[in-house]
Symmetry: C2
Subunit: 314 residues, 2 copies
């Protein structure tokens, strides 16, 4: 099934304790679309400036991503500058220049309007709904957001959340949005607004999914050399939504598999700066890491008989 | 198999955002022994003061814990006062009075010296080795420690770690002990000193085990009403060591099951102050929660055929 993503394509300048990268390809829609491209056909909606070089566009072309929705506007491409300390869970923004992104009003190409799976990456919630209204009859819609919108456009954000099937959000943002320090309570509260599921991203601790019925915990892959966490959340969402669109299933089992595919893509993402690692994966890389997640989490049942035999003492 | 624990029996005064408790039963050996008592026979080595009331001792008696090694000394029982903010992963110590614990020189009862499984809870590493030297031929030894010993008795602590099969430690302590902000690297470094395994406790994110061959991640149970995290790490260790002693197995499969038993006990521990919840569990409570951990983490494989069928696009 086709998967549409709207978000940012940007140039990032990033410093981590392990090195730095200047003016490299970034942005939520870039990470998402490349990660998802291993699973399904992706349609990209974003805006770039006149400074965006042809060779960067080839990253999307090489992954067979549909870029009819990638428009070029007068001005400069969105730029973000940030750094990470040893706690790689937290980015420190040094500078954000929206540039052409400030006036972005997406007008979807005709064929994009038939997309079945939609991901509204972290942009203004008004814009998220504007894009969504152009899609005729989506099967499954997910969105991300950030503290800026929670703090400055809470009502509009709630409107968007009402319309989606799945909210994908960071841990701190979930507590802030749900106005509860307890993550379970915050998640339950947000679920009451409308979405069927909420997936909370916890950086090096993985991700946790809440629905009315189920909770599922997926760990992050323990990585010895984390170079740059930028884009890990979007790569996670890309792997997840890419898998779901490909499987064309929203069963609990497939949501769980999708989350592991997401964790797989996120784990590759952090191994290098920008999209350097995730743009050149192959099927065996992805398959092997998925299997490693199984090894990482598998434990055997203890049946009622075993408990009795073991004689749990009460 | 018999399980010996040496550690503290204390009175705690704790304040959390959800209430407070004054001069309630606490201490690493208390939490550990009660948690382990659901799985196997436990021998307790600790010291109490003359102020320790008979009814508190009945907590151990009711759980059939062997208290021949619980000595009463002139003076007051060890007291700890602390508080937690909304981030329940971090305790703020207000006051620590070692009292009788300051001069504690354990002399093991004769039958204790034949114990097969030994847990050296967080005490002076010199004392940990002193106790261990009194056990004739233990099958499996684990120890815990804390930042105070890492910072003030690093060499002695390394000596203890060399002698144990398993180190159980908090996340921040692991980074500090291994002198590396990356947890995987810190763990690998500590493993070179001698222990076969290291289990790192991550509070509400669960626990992660490293051995030369394997990594295993156990989540924490997502709890809507965490009242008091005090003792969660010791309850975890108690459930883990209790299960291993009962199964009398150190296989990878049983270490993993043991960690889930540990997470089960820790999840009950935080539901109330002191040992109020874990002192009155029954087999069904423990069995049901163990099964919930399975539901929480289970996802289906994706076989090579499914990956190919799905057509992961490369």
């Amino acid at each position: 099934m086709s998967l549409l993503v709207v978000g940012s394509v940007a140039f990032d300048s990033v410093k981590t304790p392990f090195g730095e990268a200047k003016d490299v390809l970034g942005g939520s829609a870039s990470y998402f679309s490349v990660a998802a491209s291993y699973f399904t056909d992706v349609r990209l909606v974003a805006v770039i400036g006149k400074d965006f070089p042809e060779e960067e566009i080839s990253v999307f072309r090489d992954r067979n991503i549909d870029i009819d929705g990638l428009v070029s506007a007068e001005g400069e491409t969105f730029r973000w500058e940030g750094s990470y300390g040893y706690d790689l869970n937290e980015a420190h923004t040094i500078d954000t220049r929206l540039n052409v992104f400030a006036d972005f009003k997406p007008d979807l190409p005709r064929n994009y309007r038939e997309s079945e799976y939609v991901f509204l990456a972290n942009i203004d919630p008004d814009l998220q709904r504007e894009v969504l209204s152009q899609v005729k009859n989506p099967k499954f819609v997910a969105c991300d957001t950030m503290n800026f919108w929670i703090e400055n456009k809470r009502d509009s954000l709630k409107e968007t959340i009402k319309l989606v099937d799945l909210l994908v959000i960071n841990e701190g943002e979930a507590r802030e949005l749900g106005e509860d320090p307890n993550l379970v309570k915050a998640a339950r509260k947000i679920l009451l607004w409308g979405p069927k599921r909420i997936i909370i991203k916890r950086g090096e601790y993985g991700a946790i999914m809440f629905s009315g019925m189920h909770i599922f915990v997926a760990p992050a892959y323990p990585i010895e050399s984390v170079f740059d966490p930028t884009g890990a959340g979007d790569s996670f969402a890309g792997g997840l939504m890419g898998y779901l669109a490909r499987a064309d299933s929203l069963s609990e089992a497939d949501i769980r598999r999708g989350m592991v595919c997401g964790s797989t893509m996120a784990s590759f993402n952090v191994e290098d700066f920008s999209l350097n690692r995730i743009k050149k994966l192959n099927r065996v890389d992805i398959m092997d890491r998925y299997t490693e997640f199984k090894n990482l989490t598998h434990f055997e049942d203890l049946s009622e008989e075993e408990f009795a035999e073991m004689g749990v003492l009460t």
